[in-house]
């Protein structure tokens, strides 16, 4: 297994755990981004996007998007559900797109971890770009920083 394959397998596993903890039906780009931050990313750290900052941005996006249709995430006050350890979570559409874009970013060379981050950051719509924008992070500047 190449270095990148090993990295991808590890962060996907960690993203799957994250998705399971959140009770998500699929593993999505936001879970992958949290896993990348947890694994350590110089570009994310340099931008001030540690895992806590990303989580806060994602929570804010969730509340904001629900609020646009008059729904309050805070009104959900049932005790948290026990996570489903048995549920087989598959990568969802946003992860599949991020992986396609990872290989585009690598441009025929062996992908590196930074290409995976670029694959996620390339999305112009969806939860991750909305969360970054709402939290005041400049996605395009972040892409430039990763290209560094």
């Amino acid at each position: 297994m190449s270095g990148f394959d090993r990295y991808l397998k590890d962060v996907l596993e960690s993203a799957t755990e994250e998705a399971r903890r959140q009770g998500a039906a699929t593993v999505e780009a936001e879970h992958l981004l949290l896993a990348i931050a947890a694994a350590g990313s110089p570009a994310l750290d340099a931008a001030g996007l540690d895992q806590a900052a990303i989580r806060a941005a994602l929570d804010r996006e969730f509340a904001h998007s629900l609020a646009t249709v008059g729904v309050s995430a805070a009104a959900f006050d049932l005790p948290p559900a026990t996570p489903a350890k048995d549920r087989r979570l598959q990568p969802g559409a946003s992860v599949r797109l991020a992986l396609e874009r990872t290989f585009v970013a690598a441009a025929g060379r062996d992908p590196q971890p930074a290409h995976l981050l670029l694959g996620i950051l390339a999305a112009e719509v969806g939860i991750v770009p909305r969360a970054l924008a709402l939290a005041g992070f400049d996605r395009v500047a972040l892409i430039a920083r990763v290209h560094g």
Partner: protein
């Protein structure tokens, strides 16, 4: 409602996520309160098989005492 289509689309995605989280929490609450699978399924508007398949192992692992009926 905002004029930006991205807002309405993001709201759909967020509502789906909220519904998934709410379903897990609500089914667990009902089963802990002693409801049976058929009643939970009927209240959710899904088949008994669907709710059983989705939640049985999770609730067993959580130590919830499950009624068969």
């Amino acid at each position: 409602m905002s004029d930006d289509p991205a807002d309405a689309l993001a709201a759909v995605a967020a509502l789906r996520r909220l519904a998934d989280q709410l379903e897990d929490a609500a089914v667990e609450q009902a089963m802990r309160a002693g409801w049976g699978w058929p009643k939970v399924a009927e209240a959710l508007g899904v088949t008994r098989q669907a709710v059983h398949k989705k939640h049985l192992k999770r609730l067993e692992a959580a130590g919830v005492e499950l009624r068969r009926r």
